[in-house]
Symmetry: C2
Subunit: 419 residues, 2 copies
């Protein structure tokens, strides 16, 4: 891996309330990581190759902590349907087709291409219950060098016949998935019980044992709707909260635990995820379209609950995480408007932080341009109208609100430029 | 103007609950208008030139009933600011610069280019208080053949010193604007008091007289926030409602009356706008970003209040009306979620109808592909993944949720193809 220097404007969020901005500066990349940012390039780096992006803005790559790779071909259609009709008419029949590799391969190839196109280099992905298709996605991601968690989905109850496993088969295929994907470089397997209502207690128990045996993390949906919370507690009467199911079955001890949505958490849920150091995932467009509501981001932040951003494609129409940054700001305003007593708006910096450094933290030192972080970065440009200049933060904001992949003029993973 | 035939899939909303779909069909264009749609092309049209778009989807062009052309260069920046900071820090200083034609020309050129790029061929535009710049935008729109209303803005109180007219000057320049733009082809002048708090009663009275003298319509903001409603009634204590100011001063009698937002209307407002046959304008992203709230679209529809769609750039980040179609569906779900007693969700068909035929009705027979309507149309394509087919309605839906200008492969105004 060659070392090099990039020149341009540089921007990243080091914290939820701190945007770091370096105009007309140099970022030195050594061994695939950021060595430092300088207004004047130190003499000792003067020999390195220089990529001059002029007014191009160098930002961290995005992190999508919740995406259903298998639902990609459904994006932006059927959005008038209520959740259960959407699942039964579109999602479940579509997911069932991943039994065929002829079906799965082009979809997963397209998903990986889309992630790269939109600058998402860290992702936690749901597949389906099918081993072979999940294995294929895993290898395509690894081949491209993207950082990812991939989870073969578990479903052994309350699922359509054509998309339901036996408990034994679910555990057997999950163990196979974990065992066969040890020692990989950038992609790791992760436990993926779809959500509590589709997974029996014996399955949860077995997954906890696999978590310990293979030292792996967990991703699932948690507290997405009040109906789901109620149903879960009816199905698991011995548990006091949804999160407790994962805690007591030992799934929060051996890797990152990633919980999508967390819109209606109980205090017990909050205590458990904070104790476990879990990551919650805010998916603004998706929970709008399936009418789950709006995550109380500001209130959770005030309680020190870590939050990242996810697209939740296909409930979301696009894999562009940057657009969800804008949407997170917008929805926090509506949350405050409709429920002012408990909620507040968040800033652009906060939302950008969630979609970069917060989400990236599940993968290692990623999602920032601080010294020592992987140089997983984008250069964005073309955001100013002729004759009008914007500050770096204004350009980042316009990109998230109104830009698209045409504004991403360079992409780097581990300091390697990719197309 | 030459006559021709287009082949493809054809889709338009003839009503809020009726999407008309013709797969693999022919649309005959004569004299710039739709003559008819046929599954099999009648022999008498066989001699006409044929444009074959194959699986391309032919849809009506979009209508943007509320856009601040002068705020285009602000789009997608400063969105963390509260409304009055946003106005004072960004909007007002920026609008003041339209006193300079060197400033105004490139901005208005860019706006018109953007409208065409995104397939918006019918628009009602605010400019600023400045005559020359407003005149320039008028002529650029007319030259391109777009259908539009353009309004020189009136502000004679509660405005920054640098962006405030005397009552006399405001009326004088407005009359000049109306008088100098009579007899134009596709663009018409329209009265544009910014909103009641910035316009004195004598100004309103004078505008009403001009409305009668020059037979022109009205556009303004109405009932955008509770604070605005309260302030307006304090400033106009002799009036029972915001809409009554325009009614009693004679501004609803001589052309379309177009009211943006209408989020907190009183029953008196509703009665007045229905009596006048006015058009309300829903601007979903804009009223989210400035936290005005969500228009009660379903409830108003149930009361037979006509509603179109607007972007309200620059409070909205983009001139793409089709994206506001998706957003209108999404926000109706949140409105129902947070205030279920009075509200319901709307369908994609309903939102598409508002953004095409409903909005187009302010300009004549536009916004539909029915017989006799102007052939102001778009061809959209590239919305299907390799190997996956979608119905025409699914393609229209995906376009509005996730497509962009790259999906618009042909554009027609009055049967004339434009680039």
């Amino acid at each position: 891996m060659s070392d090099f220097v990039c020149h341009g404007d540089i921007l990243y969020a080091s914290d939820a309330d701190k945007m770091e901005v370096f105009e007309d500066s140099y970022i030195v990349v050594q061994g695939g990581r950021t060595e430092g940012i300088y207004e004047v390039l130190p003499e000792k780096y003067a020999h390195m190759p220089l990529k001059d992006y002029k007014r191009g803005l160098i930002i961290p790559a995005f992190s999508d902590l919740h995406i259903h790779a298998s639902q990609f071909v459904q994006r932006g259609v059927g959005m008038d349907k209520l959740l259960f009709d959407w699942l039964n008419d579109y999602t479940f029949p579509q997911e069932a087709r991943f039994a065929s590799m002829d079906y799965a391969k082009p979809v997963y190839d397209a998903v990986v291409k889309e992630l790269i196109r939109h600058g998402t280099f860290h992702a936690s992905l749901f597949t389906t219950i099918h081993y072979d298709a999940s294995d294929y996605l895993f290898h395509v991601l690894e081949e491209k060098g993207l950082y990812a968690y991939v989870g073969k989905v578990n479903m052994d109850m309350n699922s359509p016949d054509y998309l339901c496993e036996t408990t034994e088969e679910s555990l057997r295929q999950t163990e196979r998935f974990l065992a066969e994907h040890q020692g990989t470089k950038t992609v790791k397997p992760i436990l993926t019980p779809r959500f509590a209502p589709t997974c029996s207690e014996p399955l949860m128990k077995g997954l906890g044992e696999l978590s310990k045996k293979y030292h792996c993390g967990l991703q699932t949906h948690l507290a997405e709707s009040l109906a789901e919370v109620k149903w879960t507690l009816e199905l698991f009467p011995d548990y006091g909260s949804d999160a407790e199911i994962y805690e007591r079955n030992g799934m929060l001890d051996n890797g990152p635990s990633i919980f999508a949505h967390f819109i209606f958490p109980s205090q017990a849920d909050i205590d458990i995820v904070r104790r476990a150091g879990s990551m919650m995932v805010h998916c603004p467009d998706a929970t709008t379209s399936v009418t789950a509501g709006i995550m109380p981001v500001k209130a959770l932040q005030d309680k020190n609950v870590p939050i990242a951003v996810g697209t939740d494609v296909g409930a979301c129409q696009s894999t562009a995480v940057y657009r969800q940054v804008a949407r997170a700001v917008q929805l926090s305003k509506l949350k405050e408007f409709f429920e002012p007593e408990d909620n507040g708006r968040i800033t652009f910096t906060h939302a950008f932080y969630m979609a970069t450094k917060a989400g990236g933290s599940c993968f290692g030192h990623m999602g920032s341009l601080e010294k020592g972080y992987h140089f997983n970065a984008l250069v964005i440009d073309g955001l100013e109208d002729d004759g009008f200049t914007l500050t770096p933060q204004e350009r980042a904001e316009r990109f998230c609100y109104a830009g698209d992949d045409r504004n991403i003029v360079a992409r780097f993973i581990d300091g390697r430029e990719i197309q």
